[in-house]
Amino acid sequence: MVAKPHGGRLVRRLAGKRERDRLLEEAGEMEKLDLPLYLATDVENIAYGLFSPLEGFLNSEDYNYVLHEMRLSDDTPWTIPIVLDVDEEEASRFSPGDTVVLAHRGQPFAVLDVEEIYSWDKKVHAQLVYKTTDPAHPGVAKTFSAKPLLVGGKILLLRDLENPYSKLTLRPAETRVLFREKGWKTIAGFQTRNVPHLGHEYVQKSALTFMDGLFINPLVGWKKRGDYRDEVIVAAYRALLDHYYPRGSVVFSVTRTPMRYAGPREAVHHAIMRKNYGCTHFIVGRDHAGVGNYYGPYEAQEIFSLFPDLGIQPLFVKEFFYCKKCGGVVNEKICPHPEEYRVRISGTKIRAMIREGKMPPPEMMRPEVAEAVLSFGDPFVE
């Protein structure tokens, strides 16, 4: 059975036609906040229920619970604070009880009912969410450069943002119907921000062996320098799916949301999003959502023991590698051979080869995938 929405109810904060027309007409007279894309997509994701049970940006009570307890104030597991930062000048233009227009690149697309404006301690935030205050961590850097105040309140989406991946974007209500129509009862969600190498493929196929369906769901949106660009990830997956996956048992769709690089906390957040899509299981590999050496290799798996009530089953997988003696891609659980036979499928090594315009070897990456990646002049985020 498709997983129940997180918190028991799939949130929908979408304005009906009349309400939308009225609010868009009144928008010119309301205070406006222009949001960068990563915040605008948070609004859209709240509206379509991807962040259920959130109906808006966190108020201070929920924010503090999320920060310190990794739960909302009603005890629902929630690990990543979804917050809207503003500066003093912006905050001086509205008060709790006001409705503010949310725009992106000048275009109104949502409204926010302001419930509360509050301050936050960025250092405490960084330490608790990212487990470090090192400004070299991309999530910490983003936190430190954020504005000094937070605004809590419910949002209402008036219209969708422009989306270059609209045909590849499925909303939670749509995936839930899709999985049901396909007759899937068990669905493994796979999160990625990378182009697929053989290790990823075997992780996915190991899960699919025991599941009715696989939901491959790359994140597109803000990423750190050196990560693969969104269009490269999409092209690489298309190549892999076309050549190596059974059509009927895989759904490929992207989610527009920023990577936060929060390691263990983000792994839980990723699981919650996939639960809202309807996944019953979620694949958690080595160093999930990690960056640098800030988190232990399997810390993102260990954190799940704190959430018996998460409502989605994590599937913990070990690192896959190519074993010359086994003659295939295996992991340490099933391969008895020593290190000398093992070819580690390292994303860092693959990136270095791609940078030099070289094809990674077939025991690391499918040639069709490598060709798709290399077809881009510069496949990495600048």
């Binding site: 229920g49 310190h68 301690d121 045909k167 499925l170 839930r176 396909k182 959430f307």
Partner: protein
């Protein structure tokens, strides 16, 4: 409020407390309270899950199916 931990007291029979104390020995649970919290969260989540409902009507479902067909997902 920020660093405050919100806890309250619930009574359980002393005999049950003893039983739990025994079974958590050598496990990751550091106290009877942490074990009880863990088990209760599991039970409460299962109870709540039974009541959860999908938000869309039959008509909306039909529209979604048409969209999924047009996108090639069905």
């Amino acid at each position: 409020m920020a660093s405050e931990k919100g806890y309250t007291t619930v009574s359980i029979p002393v005999t049950l407390h003893r039983r739990i104390r025994k079974i958590i020995e050598g496990t990751g649970f550091t106290s009877v309270s942490s074990f009880v919290t863990y088990v209760l969260r599991e039970v409460v989540a299962a109870y709540e899950e039974e009541k959860a409902k999908e938000p869309f009507t039959e008509e909306e479902k039909k529209a979604i199916i048409e969209k999924l067909k047009s996108l090639g997902y069905l």
